[in-house]
Amino acid sequence: MSKNIIEIDNLSKFYGKQRGIEDVTFSVEEGEIFGFIGPNGAGKSTTIRTLLALIYPTSGSAKIFGKDCIKEAPSIAQDVGYLPSETFFYEGMTVKDLLNYAATLYRKDCSKRIAELSERLKLDTSRKIRDLSFGNKKKVGIVAGLLHSPRLVILDEPTSGLDPLMQQTFFDILREENNKGVTILFSSHILSEVQKMCNRIAILKEGKVISLQNIHELRADAYKKVHLSVESNISDCSLSLDGITKYEKNGGEISFIYKGSVNRLIDAIQPLKATDILIEEPSLEEIFMHYYQ
């Protein structure tokens, strides 16, 4: 049985009367890529910042590697890599000096790893931070977050500013790390990223976890989008099947949303003499909207 790398138990954070997160409870197993999704303001960053001891919880507890996140923060930080949504560094430094400084703070010789990651991300380490674009600063953040070969990587909206090719390289790096046993907590509101990367997800709404599921179960339980092409001379081609919503017919084209048994759906379609059928998995956006409506 896998052990839990992150354990969050009834964690709450209030800024005065304003709610940050409330009674958040979930755990992340070793070697897992765990998605953490929700719109802006749902409490994703607050949860992450509490895990990293950047802010102190109002109540509840959080543990990483079995250690209390607040009391043993420095010891935990030795094995945690963090990539914030917006990366900021000391503007007057060169990339190389900054990364060496980060390595010094971990008390490790990370020169090989820095060179390897910089090369893969096509990062020029001789440039000053202030001269870098937003995307290149993000690359510096990725290298700074991974240079000490952490056991847990925490990513908060990690891909903003990266072009699609660089996003792919970044995801490849993450998968390689994960294959080596690194656990990843991946927070995002770009759901396709989560869909692509994660094993399990927690959906956050207004500071609370409203769903915690395996990503395949989540899809299986959810709606399917169906597009049908039928012979246009068939006048009566309505479907009488439970679980159908948003039924639209435009000439020979029919589309609807379906939730239920796929076999029953096929049986119902058969009399329509369909010339083409397209059953789409719902995107996480659609699943997500389901929870938000």
Binding site: L54, A77, V80, E86, A102, T104
Partner: protein, 263 residues
Amino acid sequence: MGIFRFEMKQYKGSVIAWSIGISAAILALLSVSAAYTKDPSSIALLEGNAFLEAMGVNPETFFTGMGIYGVYGSFALLAGAIQAINLGLSIITKEHMQNTADFLMTKPYTRKRVYLSKLAAACCCLLITAICYFAASLWAVRAIPGQSFSFTIFFQLYLLFPLLQLFFLLLGMAIGVLLSRIGSTLPLALGISFGFYLIGMYSSVVQSQVARLFSPFKYFNVNIIQASGGYETGYLILYLALLTTFLISGYTIFVRKDMKMVL
């Protein structure tokens, strides 16, 4: 060691500039003023001068080497206070202003160690300035002709410089922890330093002991040091109490404070 060395590197240029500036200023002022000491009959001209009263100048001792050092040293104290409070403010607030707090605070260092490393680096920066100021002061005071020189009195007068720098450094760090998002630290540093300096001048003019309590520049009276060769115990205790308060409050708040999110 990492944070200490990093901070020292960051403030290298500023420390060199302040050290040269303050040392050159005291050298120039004392060299020019050396000429006054040759004409003690000028004492009468200083009697009843409101500006000199405000500066806390004693006409009886003004035309001695230590007297001139005590007066012009107060300008150096003001400059040193500005350097120290600005350093204290910026070494703390820069992490928030540059949004680098997330980078630094997610490294395997306790908050306590971060604060103490920054404090140690700032103290080291000020020590460099203080050593330069000491060398420049000693050389300039010794160069004043025809004066008997007491190293004990000189050292007690000189010591006001590092003592006040430490006071303003800790005050700056405590304010920096409380008001972490200060757009520019220099105007605030200038405002606080000049404010205290003016309160000190006011306390000298009206001879107000209450006003004197609110100006660290007047905690150590140069005339008393020259006359009795020591600091006033009551004000020394007040100085130490405030120093301890700034240190403990700055440290405690820094260790317990939430690091604001980058917006």
